[in-house]
């Protein structure tokens, strides 16, 4: 029996320890995807909760045609996009207007200041990208999904994903360079 199968069965029979481990393992990834789509911490948190609830409650309907994570990210993406439509936030909201810069996370305090600044700078610039590039870059840099799997989640072809990745990186470079007046090395340290 595969580990994934054990997790699926554990969640179906509501094994609290398995569910706890599952949420702990994936919450940062799901939250990051929701945050990059919604660009708002509070909404991202709600979307993350909704995603996990939906995954857990519909686990018995999971047909196993894709990997569990692919299915979960599809739910997270759809939940976030629906929330985005509902809250009528189709345009990117600046990070300056969100709580991200002011609200420290539990593990940020011990990280070097430079890293924290870089992370915030990257997030700020990411939010200026079009939503399709943001979600594609986010999913790609999770480093656990193939191009084909990213395509399954977003509904794009593999070649479209490659184009969005390429455009996204280039677009991000331009935004980052503008934010540090062309000296990208300063940004990376």
């Amino acid at each position: 029996m595969s580990t994934e199968q054990q997790v699926i069965e554990g969640i179906i029979r509501r094994d609290e320890q398995i569910i706890r481990d599952f949420v702990r393992l994936h919450q940062n990834y799901v939250y990051t995807l929701c945050l990059r789509i919604l660009t708002n911490e509070m909404l991202a948190e709600e979307a993350t909760q909704d995603t996990f609830l939906q995954v857990i409650q519909s686990m018995d309907k999971f047909d196993g045609r894709s990997r569990l994570t692919t299915w979960m990210y599809t739910i997270a993406r759809n939940t976030s996009i629906n929330k985005l439509r509902k809250t009528n936030r189709s345009r990117v909201k600046s990070l300056d207007q969100t709580e991200l810069a002011q609200q420290p996370h539990e593990d940020n305090s011990e990280k070097p200041l430079l890293q924290k600044q870089q992370r915030e700078q990257l997030e700020r610039c990411m939010q200026k990208l079009p939503i399709e590039e943001r979600e594609t870059l986010t999913l790609f840099y999770f480093k656990e999904l193939s191009i084909r799997e990213i395509g399954e989640i977003t509904g794009d072809t593999e070649s479209n994903i490659k184009v969005k990745l390429h455009r996204g990186r280039k677009h991000l470079k331009t935004i980052l360079e503008a934010s540090v007046h062309g000296q990208i090395d300063l940004l990376y340290g």
Binding site: V23, N28, Y29, Y31, E41, E45, H105, R119, R169, D185
Partner: protein, 156 residues
């Protein structure tokens, strides 16, 4: 063309021949090299900060919502609401099929024309109010309970 080549380089998907040409270009073309370095910096940043830490307490809030205690509470409320709704429907059926004359049975009045008319209006009104209230409560109470259960905590 260069952009695609750089993307392939970053994703480590260049063929052996392309890699050789790429390295040669890097040594001979400073502009190309600068562009590659910049794209590589972006690539490294994206890799390093690929995942944002979830807010403190998120895990507990998710688990609280699927805990048996919360589910039992929600099921209990559903059951009470179901019985209430059923009771309303039964009352409505009895009233409108004429199987029970509420005005006579409940109030003990003779059914003279005037009292009967007043009672009819009162019954219509109370049935409409009762039904709307039931449906309203049925719909909103469950989403309210769920919202309460998943309310994000204060961050420290």
């Amino acid at each position: 063309m260069d952009d695609q080549l750089i993307s392939k380089y970053l994703d480590d998907t260049l063929t052996a021949i392309e890699k050789k040409e790429f390295d040669a270009r890097m040594s001979s073309d400073p502009t190309f090299r600068k562009e590659v370095d910049a794209m590589q910096a972006v690539h490294r940043m994206l890799s390093q900060f690929s995942v944002q830490p979830a807010p403190h307490g998120l895990e507990s809030r998710i688990l609280a919502q699927i805990s048996p205690r919360v589910n039992r509470m929600i099921n209990g409320i559903r059951w009470i609401l179901g019985v209430w709704a059923l009771f309303t429907v039964v009352l409505l059926v009895l009233r409108f099929t004429g199987w029970v004359n509420f005005s006579d049975t409940l109030m003990g009045l003779d059914s003279d024309q005037l009292t009967g008319q007043i009672n009819q209006y009162q019954t219509w009104f109370s049935v409409a109010i009762s039904m709307s209230a039931t449906l309203f409560f049925l719909y909103f109470s469950q989403s309210w309970i769920k919202k309460l259960a998943r309310r994000p905590g204060k961050r420290t």
